[in-house]
Amino acid sequence: MPIIRPVLNWIDERLRIHAIIRATLTEYMVPANLTLWHTLGFVLVTCFVIQVVTGMLLLVYYVPDTGRAFDTVKFITNKVPYGWLIRDLHAMTSHVFVLAIFLHMASTLWMRAYRTPRELQWITGMILLGLVLAAGLSGYLLPWSQLSYWATTVATNAAGSIPRIGHTLVLWIRGTPNVSQYTLGRFFAMHVSIIPFSILAVIGMHLLFLRLTGIAVPGGEDKATVRKVPFFPHMVTKELASVFGTLILVNLLIFYFPQVNFPEDALIPANPLETPAHIKPHWYFLANYQFLKIVPNEFLGIILQVIVGVVLFFLPFLDRGKKSSRLYDGVFYTVVTLAILGYIGLMVWGYYS
């Protein structure tokens, strides 16, 4: 069509789309030796897009009212054509989202890719981790099932162990002394607006910092001499393979392991008068849950976890030892290995406890 090219040129003159494509894709050079671990960022962006799209579709029918929330979710999963798929995609992708961000952070930690000049990438990554976990926690309550209600009650109760301000803090989080309509309203607002927009903004910053500092070269090769390839199509194809792998994992969870997100208590409407037998958080909070159980004082347990979080947050400013020092590296990797194993151990312990 002869008219299309002039129109595209007209748009391009004003928006410089071709230049942007060249700068971000075809002429954006990345190290040729990037591994599958480096594709996790792309996987995370894909998860976020799935969450936003499915979340918007769920909003068409969902009503954040304690009297209707469970029924609207039931309606979505049983009456709306492919509503079950949309809901399951949203729920199961949230697990893969958290898993991918854990792995992304762990691989960054292992490769020590947070060191100068990438401190801000690490910090924005830590903020993203917090936001994704907050999205998981707030989304947990929305179906207003037995699991939603009681898991939120237990999770928000933890804040009550803080001396002096604990009670006020719990009241501030819940809106009322018990989990109620006010809590649902707050969590809904956080889940569908505050948290996703914050995630979007922080992803933007994270990617901006990535472009400004460049990707950390694996294997300690020199940044100036390492062989490079265009991001598109060379790296994008690898990222796509990871994305397809992620989608297979999400589908496996949906079709073969629904109980990962929907144990029996998640299928029963909330009843504030009936505490279920065994309420446990999702797997990604199990380590924290178990830690609070084994530390004799709940407040101490929270403080210790906050300290670990703060240390991790400021890690780029703490890990300034010379990379070439064998002793330092040995200590570093021993601590990291023990920390990761300890975290997994607590998670498994929490599951079986």
Binding site: A32, K74, T77, N78, W84, L85, D88, R227, V229, P233, H234, M235, T237, K238, L240, A241, F244, G245, L247, I248, N251, L252, I254, F255, Y256, P258, Q259, F262, E264, L267, T275, P276, A277, H278
Partner: protein
């Protein structure tokens, strides 16, 4: 299994908490010493596990430690029922079963003054009741009063229906746990199960067989609904398998393309 144990533990915990404020349990346990007696039996009962307290059946005031207040007949304490009072005692909650029982030969014998004649606790015990299955009809239980042959015929007549009910309940539950709503089927099954189970108290095989035949179409309807939902679940899985297959092909194609693109760079090395 773990879940069941956990559920029982929590129920025990909750019930223990409830019974901690229950002066009946505390005093009777103390009076019984090392037992045996109702207070010792009570924690093994399904009633106890479901949070039912002594006062729910016997009346009285479980909040008072004073026996005169706690067991004040003027304030509704009923005490231990006589054998003929037992059917109405249990029938406060198990209404339909009481009505069936009252039509039975067991009840007729009881009210005609035949001794021993069975009431509810003869078979179910007074304080050690468990979830009932047809296995309760056995030579030991029935043989307390008469020979087992008639009871065996009754058990056989109901066995097929019970087996179908159990298997359908399992199917329904599996579908429910896969996220498909089965509320209607659960209600229908509950109704059918009740209609069947209350027949165990009629004891007249000539009445039981037509009733079972009348229940069968309803059970078949539930079976049909469950089958449809089972098919839906299978269809979903097929669609999921197709999707996963496509993603797998996509992953292989993308990775192969990546490898192909990287070939010149690998050769350079």
């Amino acid at each position: 299994m773990k879940r069941t144990i956990a559920a029982i533990c929590l129920a025990l915990l909750l019930s223990t908490a409830a019974n901690a404020q229950n002066s009946c349990y505390k005093c009777h346990l103390q009076n019984e010493g090392s037992g045996p007696g109702p207070a010792h039996d009570w924690p093994t009962s399904i009633h106890f596990r479901n949070g039912i307290a002594c006062a729910d059946c016997h009346g009285g005031n479980p909040r008072s430690d004073d026996p005169l207040v706690a067991m004040n007949r003027a304030r509704g304490f009923l005490g231990k029922p006589s054998p003929t009072q037992v059917p109405n005692f249990c029938g406060k909650c198990h209404e339909a079963i009481r009505d069936n029982y009252l039509e039975s030969a067991h009840a007729k014998a009881l009210f005609a003054g035949v001794r021993p004649a069975p009431n509810c606790v003869t078979c179910h015990t007074a304080h050690r009741q468990q979830k009932v299955t047809l296995d309760l009809i056995n030579p030991q239980t029935c043989g307390q009063c008469h020979s087992y042959d008639r009871a065996a015929r009754l058990k056989e007549a109901m066995g097929g229906m019970e087996k179908d009910l159990t298997s359908l309940s399992k199917e329904e539950r599996r579908i429910f746990l896969n996220g498909i709503d089965t509320e209607e089927e659960q209600k229908a099954l509950f109704d059918v199960r009740n209609r069947v189970h209350r027949l165990t108290h009629v004891l007249d095989i000539n009445k039981i067989l037509p009733e079972l035949a009348a229940v069968r179409p309803d059970l078949n309807r539930v079976q049909h609904e469950v089958d449809l939902k089972q098919k839906e679940l299978e269809d979903r899985r097929h669609q999921g398998n197709i999707l996963m297959g496509l993603f797998f092909v996509g992953a292989i194609a993308a990775y192969a393309t990546h490898k192909k693109l990287m070939e010149p760079h690998t050769r350079e090395k």
